[in-house]
Amino acid sequence: MTERKEAQKGLQSLRQALADDIRDASDEEILAQFTEDVGSPDENAARMRALFEKTVLLANKGRLHAARAGAATHKVSSADSPIPIVEARARLRQVLDAHAHDKSFTLAARKESELSDADVVDMLEVMRELGLLSE
């Protein structure tokens, strides 16, 4: 095994040991340590649940988009978008920049340049529904 692989394997072992210990700890232990090291587990749960509901909404929009795309009998070009795609991308970038520290967005969602035109339009639609986009 090369030196690099050996080193990586060692760190992987450490990460795995850490993860195994957290996974195997009792609920009581996890809650007590969380309270001591991080803060209120209840507040964490509330924040995580809110994040989950937003994720569900985003996933729903993705599913809806896929269903629409499947039902369409012809391909919709970017020129058929409600607004020109360049404008849509600029608008999306603007909103993402304004919420750069908002943990509600997945990292993937924050990378506008890696989204397809359809995803951009879809994302704008979701943001409008979430009230993040003014008309």
């Binding site: 996974r23 609920d27 964490n44 649940r49």
Partner: protein, 186 residues
């Protein structure tokens, strides 16, 4: 009969309902695990957890019906973070470690161990071990884990058994988690 197929993966509705019923402890555990996995990925722990949930809901990472959803999310976060670390590694420019004259400067850098990586690794290792300067036994434990010792070997190395060993593992875990914002365990 498609019975086996039907049992193969939890439906999206089942996953959603299960996650909605997660306890406060489940969320705390996932939070801590996400933190442990996001080391050196460039991702925040929230991002990692959300991505794991998103992939599960979208069906790109199906949750087998016989696998606990928490465990599935843990495995998915682990897989995503491994991929991201590898991606991050591949984006780092690698400086060849060969002696001058041995390798042509125009030759592509080795995908293996570079001088820079070696320094980063040694620095990270020293920082991790430095967390336990006040506790030589904990330091031995971490070094043993880095050297892939199994549990019995670790117990022998540290001279700890039972509760004393578990307590030391807990101490190591808590200190390592505090390192996570810097992402040193790369």
């Amino acid at each position: 009969m498609p019975v086996d197929d039907e049992k193969a993966a939890r439906t999206r509705d089942q996953v959603e309902a299960t996650i909605r019923a997660f306890s406060v402890a489940n969320w705390a555990r996932l939070h801590q695990l996400a933190k442990s996995f996001c080391f050196k990925t460039g991702w925040g722990f929230d991002d990692l957890l959300q991505e794991a949930i998103m992939r599960t809901l979208q069906g790109t990472r199906n949750c087998p019906s016989d696998v606990d959803v928490v465990k599935h999310l843990i495995d998915t976060m682990s897989s995503i973070s491994d991929g991201e670390r590898e991606k991050a590694h591949n984006q780092v420019p690698h400086t060849p470690t060969a002696q001058p004259g041995v390798m042509d400067a125009a030759e592509p850098a080795s995908p293996e161990w570079s001088a820079e990586e070696h320094l980063v690794y040694e620095g990270g290792r020293a920082e991790i071990l430095g967390l336990f300067d006040d506790d030589p036994v904990a330091q031995d434990l971490v070094e043993g884990i880095l050297a892939h010792f199994d549990t019995e070997q670790l117990k022998e190395l540290t001279g700890l058994q039972g509760t004393a060993y578990n307590t030391k593992r807990t101490l190591v875990r808590r200190r390592l988690l505090k390192l996570s914002p810097k992402g040193r365990i790369s």
